[in-house]
Symmetry: C2
Subunit: 338 residues, 2 copies
């Protein structure tokens, strides 16, 4: 990106070396192939392209952005990037973005309303073309405000009413978990249901409970907890101390399930033999745990890709619709299967 004389490679430096005008160079280098109208004669175009390639010309995004009003930047907000599920979804988003020449900027919001607002402002100040929220809350009006301001965005992983999203079909996922555990004969079951403000938690729990009710298998005990391992452990502790402890636990998240595994062990129970424990998301760790964890697999990478694609279509002015991707059950030793 530096030419022989040490100056940066710009349209001007290319034009000067070729004795052409900067606008001609720009037209050629931006020419969409085969659109009928030619940007320059074949010979001129070839010379320009050759020199640009040779010098490693890369258009300055500042100049282009200032002129076009587009930054080719996409902001991605997540609760935490160190949450594996979000990290994998983000990798899908970033991969798809890269293929379209877009760059992503990510920000942690810690599921905190103030941080979310502050980070969104920061991203908007950077002039992102659009946003992807991985931290939508069912109990917040923030997204409605943003939409009213004309900000373009889509949601990923967690849905919220009235906004386009790409998520797992979590109700179905909850039903798959219930089908698995009820199929194994468990009628005294507990759900570690996550946080009530997240659609993932609510939908997975609802699908699970719904299935048990439909089959006349009674009402599962539902416990709320943070999505992490410590939260799962505490909730499982609580369930196991009941007078009628469950014989099976469904955690709406693998990390919470790992916590439940620990709690079971503390109670002298071996997962897969004395108690069935399962998670959700099928993170890479699930298969590799000392006692492999039954889980509901979700195409996280693909969900991320689709979210980015949905956003670009929305930015292009298209009306877009939410997408639910189907999960699948993966049975392993922690429920005595696999």
């Amino acid at each position: 990106m530096v030419d022989r004389k040490g100056g940066p490679v710009t349209l001007r430096s290319i034009a000067d070396q070729l004795g052409l005008h900067v606008s001609t160079v720009s037209r050629v280098l931006n020419g969409r192939d085969g659109d009928g109208v030619r940007a320059a004669s074949g010979d001129t175009a070839t010379r320009i392209r050759r020199l640009a390639a040779e010098l490693g010309y890369r258009p300055d995004p500042h100049g282009r952005g200032l002129r076009t009003g587009r930054s080719e930047l996409v902001g991605v907000l997540v609760p935490r990037l160190s949450d594996l599920v979000l990290a994998m979804i983000y990798e899908g988003i970033d991969e798809a973005a890269g293929e379209l020449g877009l760059t992503t900027i990510t920000a942690n919001t810690l599921d905190d309303e103030q941080v979310r607002r502050q980070r969104t402002r920061m991203l908007l100040a950077r002039r992102v073309d659009g946003l992807i929220f991985g931290d939508a809350r069912l109990d917040s009006g923030f997204l409605d405000e943003l939409a009213a301001d004309g900000v373009r965005f889509v949601l990923v992983n967690r849905r919220a009413d009235g906004h386009p999203s790409v998520t797992p079909d979590d109700r179905l996922g909850g039903r798959l978990a219930a089908e698995h555990l009820l199929g194994l004969g468990h009628t005294r079951v507990a759900v570690i249901g996550g946080e009530p403000f997240a659609s993932t938690a609510v939908d997975r729990t609802a699908g699970f409970v719904e299935y048990y009710r439909e089959h006349g298998a009674g009402d599962p005990v539902v416990l709320r907890s943070p999505f992490d391992t410590a939260g799962g452990r505490a909730a499982a502790e609580q369930a196991l101390r009941r007078p009628d402890p469950p014989t099976a636990i469904f955690a709406v998240n693998d990390f919470a399930a790992i916590g439940a595994l620990g709690a079971a062990r503390d109670h002298g129970l071996q997962a897969g033999a004395d108690i069935a424990i399962m998670g959700y998301n099928d993170t890479p760790l699930a298969a590799e745990l000392p006692i492999p964890l039954t889980s509901v697999a979700v195409p996280m990478h693909e969900i991320g890709r689709r979210a980015l694609e949905l956003l670009t279509r929305s930015l292009a002015g298209e009306e877009v619709r939410s997408q639910r991707l189907a999960p699948t059950l993966v049975a392993r030793a922690s429920t005595g299967a696999g």
Copy 2:
């Protein structure tokens, strides 16, 4: 960021509303406090600042970047963001960047030389001010080339000769692990040593082996493996099938240690009773596993923060020096301690 008439808020729109010149507004809004020279009269400055705040003025980074040649963007390259260790380091980097008004852009390189080059070019095309590499390899000349081209960067987590870095003191960390296991009486030990191109793997292994030799406790068996759980499991399998299987295993990474935990279980061995297993990094999961994992704790967040600070000092033209942060041992049940 949109004024009453719907147009964007710019220096010009503020200047016009106040009957001032755009340069005056710029001077005031960029005025470093108390630098002697005043950008405008107190009254004018107040009126400008008030209106800017009221309208939510945010300077357009395209305009500013075009003019100043600085983007206020920092590129961060890591093997994978879905690796928890890198995700936590990245969170530290991003936090420190935010405090300085910088924005980070991250990219996965998958520890692949071609991807690394391609992603670096992409970041440079975005005109980042500097780069942070979390994926340095001991066997690559790529960083030397970049430095020769005048690109500014620092390394994080993994070091490489001749370039400034912020890393754990991994040789010391390896020694701490050895001290712990030898202190428990283990003389037949195996090291799951990771990949030979990463300084983390090499230094941790070297520190461990060095300690055993210094104490006349013999030579540990050293196995190479990928840094993930599957790799750790395979390496542990190999160690346990030896005619003289180890009584203790040190994995240079928690995820590999979790794999070793699984392999031990397959062999009917209970970690902490029949065999001692420990990891490195003390990721949040370590404390929460069914059998809590002994590990060497590393200040990942702080390492990230320091790397960003080192880069900004380097960008300011300062000569910078590498930093090694001290790790600490955390003894838990997996080695029969804790």
